[in-house]
Symmetry: C2
Subunit: 470 residues, 2 copies
């Protein structure tokens, strides 16, 4: 393993104390002497660490006194409000074309698409593994990889899930085209047109559009910005409104970034097991906590095979590989059959490169490095919002992933207007109504913090704020 520069380790240590609240705004950070003793490094190295923290806007120097945690403007940002429940509806996809258009234009400031900047990804190593896989595979590499998908990758995926407490073997994994194909196959396997399905609200528009395509009604359960949807509201949707399945993102949900507490996860799986209601879990952001261990997926609490665990490497590693998977629990045969019907098989070489990256430990090293960067990017974006947007603006405060949910004061323009006007100035956002089956969230929008902080991003946020006010 390549070791991280020492000043980074120290900066990271202090940043963690700040982000977890162990060090509050205005508090004095340990002195250069204390830190150099604790980490057994020179005081120059500690000063380098402080310079890094200063650049991030986390600390400030006070002459003759030391370094203090900066009071950040974003500390005062309130959390978004919890939305009101609405009658179930079949979602529409009519707002998709503008989003697709914004993705196609490389000159647009990319605050819309939920993907990481390529420079945060281990491109050199992955491309090398891809080339290696291509060279090594020979003629056999052109054979269709039969269901349920590339075995070495399935083994690695199962191993990682088992480590988190899930009872999963390679035979329980079916590889897919991204997590979205996994969710599609899952929905197809456990619902019929006309059924009602529980989603959290706000809900990732990709899921809503799938529900719409399949003729399913969305029961939108208002989610707490920090904790996700309350289990008792999900129970009510199942018992009183005949929900046939749930589609949930327990870890760092899109767009809220909420993280379901372990007790909620356990209770939810128990509830759905008791009611025989399948849970389709998307865990695409689960590997991206800012601090500490990655949180467990719902699958870790699943004993009855009621959880259809869906995920991918698109958010955390290689968007262009389109490599995802599903652990369909007891719906395996139905899911496998549908994988054949809709796309037959997934490409082999990309699966092979990722499998090798996982086996070599490269993925875990990459994740350790990128989490810190995402934390900083999210923090800097929050800071810019606090600076430029008016009082009354509310913003999510996620502990993982790289998405922010912004709720503007009601005096601001409609988010759909804001999207159109921002796009004319080459800035892309995703407007709130896309996250609702009933066009709610008209004063909200989602920002992706997948790109390294830059003056261009800062000025894009400033311009957004001006557009919102006008």
């Amino acid at each position: 393993m390549r070791s991280r520069p020492l000043h980074q380790t120290i900066a990271d240590h202090v940043a963690r104390q700040i982000s977890t609240g162990a060090l509050r705004p205005g508090a004095r950070v340990q002195s250069v002497r204390q830190l150099s003793a604790r980490f057994a490094v020179s005081s120059n190295t500690v000063l380098h660490a402080f310079a890094t923290l200063e650049a991030l806007g986390l600390v400030e120097a006070r002459p003759q006194s030391g370094y203090y945690v900066r009071a950040r403007a974003s500390d005062a940002l309130p959390a978004p409000t919890v939305p009101q429940p609405r009658t179930p509806a079949v979602p529409k996809a009519d707002r998709l074309p503008l989003f697709i258009q914004s993705m196609r234009d490389p000159s647009v400031v990319p605050l819309a698409a939920a993907t990481m900047a390529p420079e945060l990804l281990p491109a050199a190593r992955l491309n090398q593994l891809l080339a290696q896989a291509a060279r090594r595979s020979g003629a056999r590499g052109l054979r269709l990889d039969p269901l349920p998908g590339y075995a070495p990758l399935r083994r690695e995926i199962a191993r990682r899930l088992a480590r988190l407490g899930a009872s999963v073997t390679a035979e329980d994994v079916v590889t897919t085209i991204g997590a979205i194909e996994a969710i599609h196959l899952a929905l197809r396997s456990v619902t019929r047109p006309g059924d009602a399905v529980v989603v959290e609200s706000p809900c990732y528009f990709g899921v809503l559009q799938l529900l719409g395509e399949l003729g399913l009604r969305a029961i939108e359960v208002p989610a707490d910005p920090a904790l996700g949807p309350p289990v008792d509201r999900i129970e009510e949707a199942i018992t009183r409104r005949q929900a046939r399945a749930c589609v949930l993102v327990p870890n760092f949900a899109n767009p809220l970034g909420s993280l379901m507490p372990v007790a909620h996860k356990r209770a939810l799986v128990e509830l759905c097991t008791a009611h025989d209601t399948p849970i389709i879990e998307s865990d695409v952001y689960g590997e991206l906590p800012f601090e500490g261990e990655r949180p467990a997926p719902l699958k870790a609490f699943d004993e009855a095979g009621i959880v259809l665990h869906c995920s991918s490497f698109s958010k955390s590693l290689a968007p262009s590989f389109r490599a995802g998977w599903i652990c369909p629990g007891r719906f395996r045969e139905a899911v496998e059959q549908r994988k054949f019907i809709y796309t037959v098989a997934s490409p082999t070489v990309t699966q092979a490169a990722i499998a090798e990256f996982l086996v070599s430990g490269g993925y875990d090293r990459h994740l350790r490095a990128v989490r810190r960067r995402l934390r900083d990017q999210v923090m800097q974006t929050r800071e810019a919002i606090a600076e430029h947007f008016p009082d009354g603006t509310r913003v999510s405060n996620p502990q993982g992933g790289f998405l922010l949910w912004v709720e503007m004061p009601h005096s601001a323009v409609d988010a759909l207007d804001l999207q159109r006007r921002a796009l004319r100035e080459k800035i892309s956002i995703v407007p709130g109504p896309m996250f609702s089956a009933r066009n709610g969230f008209r004063h909200c929008f989602r920002l992706s913090c997948g790109h390294p902080w830059s003056d261009a991003l800062e000025s894009a946020i400033a311009r957004l704020a001006r557009l919102a006010a006008s």
Copy 2:
């Protein structure tokens, strides 16, 4: 371009005369002297060519007299009967698991799956291009390739279609996961659940299963084994039975291998234009004629944008790349939106390698070489059927692709029984009932001739015949 050995060219010349009927069984082939003069080669080279033709079972030497076209047992094989029309039905996918199981076991003689053997494919070159694409792409290669897909590949696809007479530019192409995703997106874009859709009968089971998933009824139009479905019967389905769309394989259909004459193609597109009925065309076998130019797709006759042209490189080049496309005509926006909803984007690196292979002319060279081999494999399989199956067995006689449709005498066992019993002896076939929404074709099965002829294949056909008789 690497030139073909001279003896191959001569053998090919004679084989073509035989397969087109210019030389009939029992006819004398031109003498060694005549051929050596005509091709300006030594008589040894011509003798080498005759040895090749003898090995293929095409000619036989008669002492002191020369070479004669062998009377082949398969010349007496009658064509399959045209099926009776049936009431429209929503197809089921309940026979899929056995097919999937047969694909997974590498020890099974692969007569079921419609894929070419890896040794017929330009693996070394493709793997090299894959490695090159991976190395060259850098960090940008990890970026999600936005809709409508990898531009250089779309350009090449459009260029090839334009050469066949289709009014298509790169902007009219959306890349997909194989042709099957293309057909799915097309069906979704032009039908609603409950609609009736015209298919040819027998019909590729993958299409029937998709119809079943989408709640669509199949109107099965009986197809002529040589010419495909008659246009007047399609017209009747549209005008009298309110068919909302057609899904057809005009070139070397699966399983019959039928080829629609140009006049039929033109009439069909005119008919559907007049009735505003979209045609979903699958052209995956179009590049694989045994002789002459590749036949035109329906898209070449489409002026109104009523044809949704679907195809892939899975049958002709690289099954494991899963690279397909759709030219959706005037349904482009609906199709593009659904591509986003179901799989967001296709993997980049495999598209890049294929694009490069097309640009370099490698694909056309590969096609020229492989067509001859497929012709020989199909011919040899027909010959073995003629030898081992009883009188009254009927077999298709395709002029392209690599599939055969066998109709056994009614005294033979049910094809579903045959499939199960054959699989116990490690031989896979696809039973007739899978090609019908109503379990027809109980005495038919499909054979894939995608693998080089071998003793193992010969003995598998002999065993199949014994199982069918018992």
